[in-house]
Symmetry: C2
Subunit: 400 residues, 2 copies
Amino acid sequence: MTTNRIPRAPESFAVPRGLLYGAAEGAIKKPGRLDVGVITGERLVAAAVFTTNRFAAAPVIVSREILRRNSGQVAGVVVNSGCANAVTGPRGLEDAWRMSEALGAQVPALVCSTGTIGVHLPMERLLPAVARAKESAGSSAGDFLRLADAILTTDTRRKVAAAGIPGSSAVMVGCAKGAGMIAPSMATMLAFVATDARICAADLQRSVARISNRTLNCLTVDGDTSTNDTLIGISSGCTGPEIVAGSPEHAAFEAALEEVLQSLTIQLAADGEGATTVIEVAVSGARDFAEARAAALKVANSPLVKTAVHGRDANWGRIAMALGNSGAEFEPAEVDIAMESMPLLSRGTPVPFDEGEALRILDTDYLRVSCRIGNGPGEARVWTCDFSKQYIEINGAYRT
Amino acid sequence: MTTNRIPRAPESFAVPRGLLYGAAEGAIKKPGRLDVGVITGERLVAAAVFTTNRFAAAPVIVSREILRRNSGQVAGVVVNSGCANAVTGPRGLEDAWRMSEALGAQVPALVCSTGTIGVHLPMERLLPAVARAKESAGSSAGDFLRLADAILTTDTRRKVAAAGIPGSSAVMVGCAKGAGMIAPSMATMLAFVATDARICAADLQRSVARISNRTLNCLTVDGDTSTNDTLIGISSGCTGPEIVAGSPEHAAFEAALEEVLQSLTIQLAADGEGATTVIEVAVSGARDFAEARAAALKVANSPLVKTAVHGRDANWGRIAMALGNSGAEFEPAEVDIAMESMPLLSRGTPVPFDEGEALRILDTDYLRVSCRIGNGPGEARVWTCDFSKQYIEINGAYRT
């Protein structure tokens, strides 16, 4: 089996200066598991992108408001897993504010929750756990890994990525969670990227939005956008010089951000509920990026494509079907489809292929499907995973 | 278990006068199964709606052209299962024309194919089978049932419905096929409705389009719109008087058409790949029908909602999530969600419910989910099925 393209979460890495990470057990998930986390520091700036779901969760509403009021100045982040605090009415909003204030700083902290929808937070257990997480917070890679573990729900493993920023001694670390209800339309379920690079809140916001658009926003597990999706970028600004928008340092910063977010994106796809194979769908020749991404997402969301890959079946007809449904405007007679380097459809005509060779290519944990739909300049890559019986098992008995 | 709302295909029924149905074995599917069918008669008029997939199959392209050229006058319908003749290039188009001409009449016949995409028709077996189907054609209910069987692929049972037209001695019979790749955007995979009511081609076209919009176009199994979707309405005109648009007779005709198409729609949902439960999603209070249907379809297409129903889990949070993703504009604080008569969310606030009662309600082969999203006049009902491991089994090993 081919296996070399899925990034592994590192165990040791350089951490940004000026940031502390803490985690604690709040008995919100099953007892004995970390489910509360904090990020703290002095004079932090933050930026974030959030779900577009109309039922935006209480922590999303509160965090948006905090960023707006304080122009990106925050005390840190407070997060819990096990309860999404979504569709919880006025009491849910009040709980999210109290959770934010639990860091006890002059400016409020951003707040995130993930887990079951429609259930209230157990504040009597949550607030003491936030205090414990804050007390125990430290700045080592091990501390960051505990935070990365505290945000997981149905994930089978943690997602972590780290990168240096070329030409600078500043670094960047990121973590994410999510395995189902993943079709980010602003960001994935929860992801945090921390850095000590000195960048202002407005530029950080632009970079987070721009880079998430071609990484986390190009990810789908099941086409279902969650009520709690949040990506937060947070900086201590400890390591100068100041990054100026448009400078070579800014380009290096965004390259590092893309490296971290793309790695997290692929790690999320690899741990999609029931997944055995990451599928990268690349579409080129579209009118623009938006059309290419829409076409690629339609392929990536098709249950028929995802089950075919699971069954190791080079059933390119289903890929053609999905492209044809995507709203992209193309001529069927101009379409090419390939799996890895094996052409399956060329200029709209089926290419005979060797089934043995196809099986060999499909025996992988990372399959690249490429589609050329015309001669336009638009191209995009999206990531998803195959669809297995385990997805049904996991989701047929999640809440009960 | 509650079970009373899924229509069963009748075995005996009155058939329209002036139409003949034939079927034959062409060894396109496995040998020993009917896979070729014809509908013939004298001076037939027909109307049809087709897939919106950009990779429209060769028979769709040919049938569209025939209807246009002949203003709805056709020799009948020729259909095969086992091979979709889709994404088959110029040779596929030529094959579809030859298949159409195989009925050997002065005006051409409409032509439909369903089955695997990207494979050429075995014309050397198909054309003799069309001749045999034509020779053996008859006008009894049994002949219609053989046609209904000849169009099936991964279906586990035939879909048939019949209706009288109130105030007239004319009748209507319909059949359909489809179990996967079902998200009709003009019609379902294949459906035929035959009648002897005297109606002109233009009025028949309007009725077929109008009624399919709230029946077959409100159906989804997996969100994947096929390349071959075709609904054909065909009339011998043998039983008068002429139906005039806007008359009471016209309303009665459309009521019968809706009865037949809605029955086929629910039968299709009930036989969705791996299905154990039909889910009816009703959305009301939307701005208009289009918004209500889009919201209902988003719920019906959510793998998380479909697996929850499969797991007998009253997980209304996933329904809220899907509504929030649908693009419908509503206030979360105004939303009600219920399963059957059990309220789960009222004005955006969770309603405590009894888990035993929920289990009793969910132990059914037909579950009604209703959502009120505001005070608008728009409402729609859509039908889908739950998502089970059998879906993965069926589609992970279909082509091989």
